[in-house]
Amino acid sequence: MRILIIEDDKETAAFIAKGLQESGFGADQVHDGKQGLVLALDRKYEVIILDRMLPGLDGLTILKSIRAVGVLTPVLILSALGEVDDRVQGLKAGGDDYLVKPYSFAELLARIQALLRRKQDNKTDTTLSLNGLSLDLLTRKVSRDGQNIDLQPKEFSLLELMLRHKGQVVTRTMILEKVWDYAFDPQTNVVDVHISRLRQKIDKEFDTKLLHTIRGAGYSLREN
């Protein structure tokens, strides 16, 4: 699996490439927009990491060009511009995710995993499940090992998110964005408390614990 990094700061690009390689991906780095465009159109990548502010060709222009010729590779936009407006612009131009600098590498990795998973996602699935835990999108019912679990609406959305990304790391920022549509950073550990509540409901009475905290990164719904 190869990932293309289009980032003009050489140190940042190298840092990301190293991190990705250590996580099992192949990474190509370019520091110029035009070169990036050429590579994106020439080779097949799983994900493209695109910096917005580039010399030569502006990031969003590259993105629009890529989409215009029908390249559907998921693109994760990196940017120092973090206003809601900027985010909307980036996603409208064809981006799949938007990460504001500075970010933790764990965040970047988690989002890349999420983008890869999204590709394989079968959108017509009406049930999400993991090891006896089952969530029905139509009836809005949740059960584990046949036992019905009562969830509040936001708890349901949170579990849905975790199940859609089962096995992967889901960061607090991702939870804030996707479950609450919040783009700000609360100073308190609110998300942790919500996860605890969910954990109480789906894990407490069962032997196998599914909802794990991944230190320094976020949370993950997995079997071990």
Binding site: G82, E83, V84, D85, P102, Q152, P153, K154, W180, Y182, A183, F184, D185, P186, Q187, T188, N189, V190, V193, H194, S196, R197
Partner: protein, 462 residues
């Protein structure tokens, strides 16, 4: 002041236009007066002549030719304006007060106008032929009428000429006055652009004399006021950044320095973890400062949309409920049915988050926080009332300043920017932030102006 400038001002052009219109109307009126007077005088003369002829006819009927001659001679002797001439068939004068038959052609109606004594006297007369083949001319000296008419024409011309000159002069003076005022305004603005931001433009006279230029001046002054405030805010931000970020940066530096000197590997991890946390704090502070500055500059206003506060507040309430419950704080919510505002959801969320986090942070265990949202006459109000220590009156203004922390909360996490951001956000939405005592505790009220929204039936309601 250049002369060409005067002629290009709108004031001059306007006065020129007024003058032309006025001249045109005056010309119209004068023409009418002249024409009326002319036809009146003409008719009068003709009537008088007709009356004369009538009289002469009677005489002729009664007394025949000798009687006519006699009366002509008698009337000629009188010093009136009448002109009479009786001639034979060879135009040899028989009686009358002019010497010869005028050379002019006689028009079909029998009227003719002629002049005597080399144009010194003008007359209007009627000529006919009597049955003995005698020619009779009856007329009137209309010299004085002609003089009156020419006098009238002369005065009218003078009047029009004077209007023209006065109009031009008036126009020039008006333009000069206007130009002078505008020059003053331009000079003041130049001074401001050169850096003297505290300069204000002068207004004319007392408040009841205010005109549109004064209104413009007032608006420019208000704008200068705002620019001055923004500039001083930016300066203040710079100072605050310098003062309050040097501390955590200093701490960070010391820690990393310690790391380099530390030989114990376990301590290394500890120090690095702390450093990372410190960096995150600094970044958060930076973001808050940036947010506040942007909110104060009003940049986001152009993206405002219609929002209903109800779902926004409901979500925020559900978001913080677990956190409150963990501290055994009773957090409850009461809302009015409709709370429409114009704004940006993200900013409002951020502000609400700040207010609620403060409330939860400072309310002790088993305390109470009441969240209410209601409508006032023109605004929607979100109220958060907690049972914490509250804020003493003398600090209520200070806590809205950037980086201000009350003594007892200096050890709590936070950077002192929370309320500054809420205030900046309130102002951006043209709303207001209020702090009040809850005895015990603090009441925070966020007012946002109501917007009109459409309900499902498409009916507008405020």
């Amino acid at each position: 002041m250049k002369t060409e400038k005067i002629f290009t001002t709108s004031a001059f052009k306007l006065s020129l236009l007024y003058m032309c219109l006025f001249l045109f109307s005056v010309l119209l009126i004068f023409s009418f007066i002249y024409w009326s007077m002319n036809s009146f005088m003409q008719r009068q003369t003709e009537a008088t002549i007709a009356a004369e002829i009538q009289g002469l006819q009677e005489q002729y009927k009664i007394l025949g030719l000798p009687g006519l001659v006699a009366i002509i001679q008698e009337r000629s002797r009188q010093k009136s304006k009448g002109i009479y001439l009786l001639t034979d068939w060879n135009t040899r004068p028989l009686a009358g007060n002019i010497s010869s038959w005028p050379g002019q052609k006689i028009s079909d109606s029998g009227w003719l106008a002629f002049s005597l004594y080399s144009k010194q006297i003008n007359a209007l007369a009627r000529a006919f032929t009597l049955k003995e083949q005698l020619h009779l001319l009856v007329g009137r000296n209309i010299e004085d009428q002609l003089q009156t008419k020419s006098l009238l024409l002369k005065s009218m011309s003078w009047a029009i000429g004077a209007t023209l000159v006065l109009g031009l002069v008036g126009g020039v003076f008006m333009s000069r006055a206007l130009l002078r005022r505008l020059e003053k305004i331009n000079k003041s603005i130049s001074a401001v652009r050169q850096g003297n931001i505290s300069q204000r433009l002068p207004l004319t006279g007392s408040s009841w004399q205010r005109d549109e230029l004064d209104q413009l001046t007032i608006n420019i002054n208000d704008m200068l006021e705002q620019i001055e405030y923004l500039i001083s805010s930016i300066r203040q931000v710079g100072d605050n950044i310098a003062h309050d970020l040097r501390t955590p940066l200093g701490r960070l530096r010391s820690r990393l320095e310690q790391y380099l000197n530390e030989s114990n590997a376990r301590q290394h991890t500890e120090i690095l973890a702390q450093s990372l946390t410190e960096i995150d704090n600094i970044l958060h502070t930076f973001n808050s400062i940036l947010q506040i500055s942007r909110a104060e500059a009003g940049v986001q206003r152009k993206n405002f949309t219609h929002l209903d506060l109800k779902p926004i507040i409901q979500n925020m309430f559900e978001f913080y409920l677990p956190l409150a419950e963990d501290k055994n704080i009773d957090l409850n919510l009461k809302m009015s049915p409709q709370l429409p505002v114009m704004g940006e959801a993200n900013l409002i969320n951020q502000a609400l988050s700040n207010i609620l986090e403060n409330a939860i942070k400072y309310t002790p265990i088993q305390g109470q926080i009441k969240l209410t949202a209601y409508k006032t006459k023109n605004s929607c109000c979100l109220q958060v009332a907690d049972s914490g220590p509250g804020i003493p009156d003398q600090f209520k203004d200070k806590v809205l300043q950037r980086f201000y922390r009350l003594e007892h909360s200096r050890n709590q996490p936070g950077n002192g920017l929370g309320l500054s951001l809420v205030e900046a956000m309130a102002k951006l939405h043209q709303g207001q932030l209020e702090l009040q005592d809850n005895d015990p505790g603090l009441i925070v009220r966020l007012y946002l102006p109501s917007a009109k929204i459409l309900n499902p039936e498409g009916i507008r309601e405020a």
